[in-house]
Structure formats: structure tokens, C-alpha cells
């Protein structure tokens, strides 16, 4: 019996030893590898995509939101009648049948045909039960107002890793806030593939993007878009841009430029259209710059509205050049108010000379000329100003009437806004508030940047600009019954070292109603062909928009 007992004991010991060795091999030697294989079988990393924040106009309407769309794909290996399928898909997807046919001839199991396909189109394709055709749900950016304020909004494209990324405008500037953060969770599945509730591990929480609430008023934006587009066609301009701002807060109420693009289909347009010219393009402002220089001279106490110009009886010679008026008409001893009414270049040379280079630069800096305004849009440019020791007498003279100096349209709008706002220059702001996913609204406060001129000077200058608007070259277009301050501008375009007399930038800047300014607006037309003058092209657009804004705000005429 003893040997049997020992044999059994020894047998079981050997068996257990093998088991222990095997377990040691699995659980220690190959533990890491087996654990990874097992995890791959029952673990699944689920990515919770953060929803991109919306962009809303001041009336709460989403002008940029996420949209459900589909990627239509096919498995060419199961397609039997390729021509029939190519014809059907081509018709529904608005692609050439030959293009679809070429895709169906690729020797692969999965071939994408078209992305960003609407639900209605997807339903029509699905109803046809085409062999091999499938749909993959995707989220794309949706701009319900199409090209309205496109350059202000920017668009959403892809980064180098294929993730959504905002480019240009608000989408670019506020990309981090709009994007949010994706959440990652590990879900453990049972043998049937069902998730095991008790084993769900939410490692990081998804954080949706924040929503931007803009100062942009959709009604004013629509008015501006419509009138600017109409004006560009009517006056045969190559391009045009305009913006409306609340001078008291710096709130941008509307900003347009044409030609434009549809941000939903940005790939179909030239890259050059993505840039917002209102904040990036520099140009010589011409006579719309005169109110800035005149304000400086008034504020410095060098001149009064009724001060007379002693050099305005004819062309002014400076440094080998002759400064003429735009129409070669001269008004001896003209007053400063009349200098603005007649848009007299010789009068402005006198004003600039009274200021001198250092004082001129000091005021230009205070008005923000040459510097970025800080507007919350991607890509703002600052042309800069020459240092005082690089200014020649001719530079000082031409700066007086807005030639030989570069500005961006937003700089000029902001500077004129200071005149409308009792001398206080505000930071232009597009976004009024940021809304977090939990509904908390964080307002962005208006910011005063500087006070280039006193309130008294601003009021005097405002009255001079009202007289200019009512009695100047654009008086025919003015709004009767309203006090609107304004100034036309017709700037020559420098081409190869000289000014081309046939190519101009026509503009009009103004604000109103002057007793309580609700808007300051700048309209610019690039090379209008019907007339080269700002008074005959940009001014009518300005007044057409102003009229609609005043009606929209319910402001009655005051006389």
C-alpha cells in the first residue's frame, strides 16, 4: 500500500508542479503580452467627440453651428452594374458620372465617394438600395447664412492630424474656446459584445466647446451685405468692403467684403478670399483721413473752425512738388470748415504744417494709426508709422490729405469712432460674450484704448463734419432730416512709384445721428469704373445703409 500511496502523492505533486510552472509562465513571464491581447479583445476605447461651440449673432441666431452629414462610400468589389450605379450616384451626388465610374473601378474594398452629403440626399440614395454603397455619419460645420460675413467668421478645416481646426476670422481667433476637449472612456465588453455596465471607466470627461455671442446684428449685417453688393455691381468696382461699429462701445455691428466665399465649401474658392481685407489690407485713405488731422490741429489749439487758410489761393509748392486740389479750384482765405466741405488739399497742407511732424505723430499714435486696434479677429495687420526723423516736408504735407500714409480700414473706422464718442477711442470687439456649455455667460466688457482729443474738440469736429456732409460733394445723397457727420474720400492708388489717376479707392466715412451716435460706418470701393469719386459711389451706399439702420432702430428725423 505504501508504494501506491507514494506513487499517487508523487503523481499529483508532478501534476501540480506542471500547473504551477505553467501558471508562472502565463502570469509572470507572458503576463504583459497576454494582458494586452485580452484587453484588445474586451476593451474598447470610446472617444466622445466634443461638440464645437456655435457662433451666434446678437439676436441669438446661430450663424455657425455643427451639422449632421454623411460620407458616402462604396465597396467596388460587390458592385455588379458599375455604369448604372455610377449614373445613379452621379445624379444624386451632383458629381460627373465618369468620376464615380472611375472610383468604382478601384480595386479596393472601401472607396469614399463624397463627404458632407445632406441627410435628404443620403435618404434618397439609401432608398435605391445600390449594392456596396454605405454611409458614415460625420459632423461638419454649417453656415446657414452662407457667405454672409464669411471673412469675419472664417471656416473650419483640418489640421495635420485630420482633426477639426478653425482658420481665419472668429473660427481661427477663438479656435481653442470653440473646440472644447474630447473625452476618452474605456468600455469592457462581454462575450456577446455588450458593454458591461459595472466595468465602464470614464477616464476623461468630454468638454464641449464654448458658444460665442457676437455684437454682430444680423439685420444690419444683411442690410450692409445687400447694399454693398448692389453698389459694387452698380459702380463697377473690382471689390468693396464696409463695416458698422457702435462708437460708444466699439461693438462691431456688421462687417462685409466682396468678393466673398461660402465657408461651408471654402475649398471651392481661392485662398486669397479667406483673408478679411477690412483688418488686413492697407491703403492710402485719401480725404477720409482729413477729419483725423483736422481734429488734431483743433485739439492742439492751433486752429479754429473759422481760422483762415493763407496758402489756399493756388497750388502749394513743396520739395519740388506742386500740391493741387482735387478739382483745381482754389478758395483764398477759406475757413477750416470750408476746407473740409471743399475737401481742399491745400488747406489740409496748411493744417499739417501747423501741426508739425512731432505733434502729427503724437496725435496719429493716439488715434491708433499705424498700430493694431486689438480687434478679436485673426490676422489683423499694422502698417506702422515712419519715425519722425524719416519724414520729409512732402510726407507731412500729403499726410494732411491722407496720401503717402497707409492705414487699415479698421484703424480708420476706430479713429473716426473716437470723434463720434466724445474723443474716446474704443477697442473694436466682435464678440460680446462667451457662453460655457453649462449655460454660464461670460460678458466681454468694452475697453477704452485712448482719448486722442477732448470731448469739446470732438463736438466741434462733429459739427464740421455735419456741415461737410450737408454741403460737400456728397450732399445730393444725404438723408434729409437727420444729422449725419461724414467725409468722402477718393484716394489715388500708387502704381510703380507714381499715382495712377484713373484708378482710385473711393470711400465714405461717417456717423450718426450726431446728437446720440448709434453707428460709425466706413464704406470702401476698390477701383469703381462708373465714377472714380467717393462722393458718387461710396457715399450713396453709406446713406442707403444709414437710412435702413435708422429705420431699423426706429430713430425719427429730428427736423
Amino acid at each position: 500500500m505504501t508504494w501506491r500511496y507514494r506513487f499517487t502523492l508523487f503523481f499529483f505533486l508532478i501534476i501540480f508542479l506542471f500547473i504551477i510552472l505553467r501558471l508562472f509562465y502565463w502570469q509572470v513571464v507572458r503576463a504583459q503580452e497576454l494582458s494586452e491581447i485580452a484587453q484588445a479583445q474586451y476593451d474598447e476605447q470610446v472617444v466622445s467627440q466634443a461638440q464645437r461651440g456655435e457662433i451666434m449673432t446678437s439676436d441669438g441666431f446661430s450663424i455657425a453651428a455643427d451639422k449632421l452629414a454623411y460620407l458616402v462610400y462604396t465597396n467596388p468589389k460587390v458592385v455588379t452594374d458599375k455604369q448604372a450605379e455610377a449614373d445613379a450616384l452621379g445624379k444624386l451626388l451632383d458629381i460627373k458620372s465618369a468620376t464615380v465610374s472611375a472610383l468604382l473601378s478601384i480595386d479596393r474594398f472601401w472607396v469614399p465617394i463624397k463627404s458632407n452629403v445632406d441627410n435628404s440626399v443620403k435618404d434618397k440614395i439609401a432608398a435605391k438600395n445600390l449594392p456596396g454603397v454605405g454611409f458614415q455619419q460625420e459632423t461638419v460645420r454649417f453656415y446657414p447664412e452662407a457667405s454672409m460675413a464669411a471673412q469675419l467668421l472664417g471656416f473650419v478645416g483640418k489640421d495635420e492630424n485630420g482633426n477639426d481646426k478653425g482658420y481665419f476670422g472668429l473660427e481661427g481667433y477663438y479656435d481653442r474656446q470653440l473646440s472644447g476637449k474630447n473625452g476618452y472612456a474605456v468600455v469592457v465588453h462581454d462575450a456577446a459584445g455588450h458593454p458591461i455596465l459595472a466595468k465602464m471607466n470614464d477616464s476623461t470627461q468630454v468638454e464641449d466647446g464654448r458658444t460665442l455671442i457676437l455684437h454682430i446684428d444680423r439685420r444690419i449685417q444683411f442690410i450692409l451685405d445687400t447694399e454693398l453688393k448692389k453698389g459694387i455691381v452698380t459702380y463697377g468696382a473690382k471689390s468693396g468692403m464696409a463695416a458698422v461699429m457702435d462708437p460708444k462701445t466699439g461693438a462691431i455691428l456688421a462687417m462685409s467684403s466682396f468678393p466673398s466665399f461660402d465657408p461651408s465649401h471654402y475649398q471651392d474658392y481661392s485662398d486669397s478670399l479667406y483673408i478679411n481685407p477690412f483688418i488686413t489690407d492697407t491703403y492710402e485713405p485719401g480725404s477720409t483721413f482729413k477729419p483725423i488731422v483736422m481734429s488734431a490741429a483743433l485739439d492742439a489749439g492751433l486752429l479754429q473752425p473759422n481760422s483762415q487758410c493763407p496758402i489756399c489761393s493756388g497750388p502749394v509748392p513743396i520739395g519740388g512738388y506742386q500740391i493741387h486740389t482735387w478739382n483745381d479750384q482754389y478758395f483764398p482765405n477759406t475757413t477750416m470748415t470750408e476746407v473740409l466741405i471743399h475737401s481742399d488739399n491745400t488747406g489740409m497742407v496748411y493744417v499739417a504744417q501747423k501741426l508739425g511732424v512731432n505733434r502729427m505723430l503724437d496725435y496719429l499714435n493716439k488715434f491708433g494709426i499705424g498700430d493694431t486696434t486689438g480687434i478679436d479677429l485673426q490676422g489683423e495687420e499694422a502698417p506702422g508709422l515712419k519715425p519722425a526723423d524719416e519724414w520729409y516736408p512732402i510726407d507731412l504735407a500729403t499726410t494732411g490729405f491722407g496720401q503717402g500714409i497707409d492705414v487699415t480700414p479698421i484703424e480708420l473706422l476706430d479713429a473716426v469712432g473716437a470723434i463720434a464718442n466724445n474723443g474716446k477711442r474704443m477697442e473694436p470687439q466682435v464678440v460680446a460674450a462667451v457662453q460655457t456649455p453649462d449655460g454660464q455667460t461670460i460678458p466681454i466688457q468694452p475697453k477704452e484704448l485712448d482719448q486722442p482729443i477732448s470731448a469739446t474738440t470732438a463736438q466741434v469736429m462733429t459739427q464740421m463734419l455735419v456741415d461737410t456732409a450737408n454741403e460737400g460733394e456728397a450732399a445730393f445723397a444725404r438723408l434729409k432730416g437727420y444729422d449725419i457727420a461724414g467725409k468722402t474720400g477718393t484716394a489715388s492708388i500708387p502704381v510703380a512709384g507714381h499715382y495712377d489717376p484713373t484708378k482710385t479707392i473711393a470711400s465714405f466715412v461717417g456717423f450718426g445721428p450726431t446728437e446720440d451716435p448709434k453707428f460709425v460706418m466706413l464704406v470702401i470701393l476698390n477701383q469703381p469704373s462708373a465714377s472714380i469719386w467717393g462722393s458718387e459711389t461710396a457715399a450713396p451706399i453709406f446713406y442707403a445703409v444709414a437710412k435702413d439702420i435708422l429705420t431699423y432702430y426706429g430713430i425719427p428725423p429730428n427736423n
Binding site: 441666431f61 446661430s62 453651428a65 455643427d66 451639422k67 449632421l68 441627410n119 454649417f142 446657414p144 447664412e145 452662407a146 454672409m148 465588453h189 462581454d190 456577446a192 455588450h194 458593454p195 458591461i196 455596465l197 459595472a198 444680423r218 439685420r219 444683411f222 445687400t226
Partner: protein
């Protein structure tokens, strides 16, 4: 001999009770995964419907859409002075 029997008996009862509890618990939570999938599918459907309806609303309420439809229907912008004493013509074409 009585004590070991009692202990074995007690352990046996504990084992049986634990088995019953385990079977009951497993039975009750075995379908939660399936329910979870159902709920997630329902949430997905509602989200999809909601997004589609939002899209439809935004497309319909866009000024560009309204302006195009209004123009097609014959509405024209009033460019003359507005006389509040007379009714405004709405559709002129």
C-alpha cells in the same frame, strides 16, 4: 465530533446563500449591457433628430433664404417714403 459537523453545516449554508445571492445578482444585471446599448441607440436617434430639426430651422430662418423666397413671391423693398395712414403694398409683382 459535533463541533466539526456544525461548522461544516454552517459553511455549507453560507455557500448556498452566497450562491443564491450571486445567481440573483448575475440574473438581475446580466441584461444591463443590452439595455445600455438600447438607451445609447435611443439617445443617438434623438440627438440625430434634434440636429436635423435644428438644421432645418436654421436653413429656413436664415435671412438669405427668407429674402430669396420673398423676392420669388413678389415682395419688394419699400424705397419711398412710408405713409402710415395708407396700407402698405406687400406683394407688388
Amino acid at each position: 465530533m459535533k463541533k466539526p459537523l456544525l461548522i461544516i453545516g454552517f459553511l455549507g449554508i453560507v455557500i448556498v446563500v452566497l450562491l443564491v445571492v450571486r445567481i440573483t445578482l448575475v440574473n438581475s444585471i446580466s441584461t444591463t449591457g443590452i439595455k445600455l446599448v438600447d438607451i445609447q441607440n435611443q439617445i443617438g436617434d434623438y440627438k440625430r433628430d434634434n440636429e436635423l430639426l435644428t438644421q432645418q430651422y436654421l436653413s429656413s430662418a436664415a435671412y438669405t433664404t427668407i429674402a430669396a423666397k420673398a423676392e420669388k413671391m413678389g415682395y419688394v423693398p419699400v424705397s419711398s417714403e412710408i405713409d402710415l395712414s395708407a396700407p402698405l403694398p406687400l406683394a407688388l409683382q
